[in-house]
Symmetry: C2
Subunit: 159 residues, 2 copies
DNA sequence: CCGATTTAGTTTCATTTGAAACCAATGGCA
DNA sequence: TGCCATTGGTTTCAAATGAAACTAAATCGG
C-alpha cells in the first residue's frame, strides 16, 4: 500500500516538530549571550569598555599595526562598528592610529602603553572566565567541543 | 632553585595568552551570529518577521495560551522585547491576546489562523537550516555536542 | 475591607546598531 | 596623464535595544 507508506512518511516529517528549547540556533544564541554578558559584566563598568572595544584591544594586543579593515576581518565585526569603537579607543588614548605607510587612507592601529596595560589587566579576567566555564567539561570534552565548534563554524559559513 | 621554578611558572601563566580566534566566548558569538543571520535571512524579508517575533511564534505554536511573562521566560527575552514583539504580532493579526481568565492584567496569547499558517511555513525552513548545519557532524557527534551545550548552558548560568 | 507591596505589561528616553550614502585616496588602464 | 572603478574609513539617518519610570490589577497584612 504505497499510499499508506506515504501517509506515514508525511506524518513523521510533520512529527519532527520545532521545539525552541531544543533548536540549536536558539540554544547557541542563549549560551553565547549568557557567557558574553557574564564576562562583560566583569570589565564593562570597571574599565568603561564595550565588547567591540575589548575585541579590538584583544586583537591588537597580539597583532599590532593592523588596519581597521584587518581588524574588522579578524574580529568579524563590520567596518562601521570598528570605526566607532576605534574612535572611542583613540579618544581614550588606548589605541593610536597612525597613517599607514603604504596607503594614506588606511591607518595603522596599535595599543598605546595605556592600551597595553588595559589588555594586561583584562586578558586574565577573560581567560579565567573561560576557564571557569570550561571547568564543567573534562579536558577531553573540551577538546572535542572545540573541534566540533570549528567544524560548525565552517559549515555555518556555507549557510 | 625555587626562584627559577617560580619564574618558569610565571612565564607559563603569561604564555597562556589570549588569542581571540581561540577564545570560546568569542567563537560561540561568531557561530551563533552566523547561524542566526543565515536563518533569519531566509524568512525575515519574505515574511516580515524579526527573530524575537519568530521566537514567540515558535513557542506559541507548541504552547498556546501562554502569558507574555511566560513567553519571556520560555524564550529568555526580556519583557520589554516581548511586549513590543507581541504588539507587532497582534497588529499583524498573527497572534491574538485575550484577557487572562484568572488575572485581568495578564493576557493569554495564541496564534491566530494566520499565525498558525506562518508557523507551518517557517518551522520547516528553520528545521531544514538546522539539519543542513548539523550535516557537518555525525549522528554521534550531534548527540555529544548537544549534551555538551546543555552542560555549558548550566555552567553559564552560574557565571 | 483598606492601604502597602508586588506583579503584568507598556511607555518613554537615551544609547546602540546597521544600511546606505558619503568622502578621500588608490589602482588600473586608455 | 587623466578618468573611472575600487577600497579604507566616516557620517548620517532610521530602526532596534535596554533601563527605568509608569499604569493598572492582584495579593498580602492587619
Amino acid at each position: 500500500m504505497a499510499s499508506v507508506a506515504l501517509r506515514k512518511a508525511a506524518k513523521e516529517a510533520a512529527a519532527e516538530r520545532l521545539i525552541l528549547e531544543r533548536f540549536l540556533p536558539y540554544r547557541l544564541s542563549i549560551l553565547s549571550n549568557r557567557i558574553s554578558r557574564a564576562i562583560a559584566a566583569r570589565y564593562a563598568k570597571t574599565f568603561d569598555l564595550t565588547i567591540p572595544e575589548w575585541r579590538i584591544i584583544a586583537v591588537l594586543g597580539r597583532r599590532p599595526g593592523l588596519t581597521a579593515r584587518q581588524v574588522a576581518k579578524a574580529t568579524e565585526m563590520d567596518k562601521v562598528a570598528v570605526s566607532r569603537a576605534v574612535a572611542k579607543l583613540v579618544a581614550a588614548k588606548r589605541v593610536s592610529a597612525d597613517v599607514h605607510d603604504a596607503d594614506a587612507r588606511a591607518q595603522s592601529l596599535t595599543l598605546t602603553a595605556q592600551g597595553e596595560a588595559l589588555h594586561a589587566r583584562i586578558a586574565p579576567i577573560a581567560l579565567e572566565s573561560e576557564r571557569r566555564l570550561l571547568a564543567a567539561l573534562s579536558a577531553g570534552e573540551r577538546a572535542k567541543f572545540d573541534a566540533l565548534i570549528d567544524r560548525l563554524l565552517d559549515a555555518a559559513r556555507e549557510l
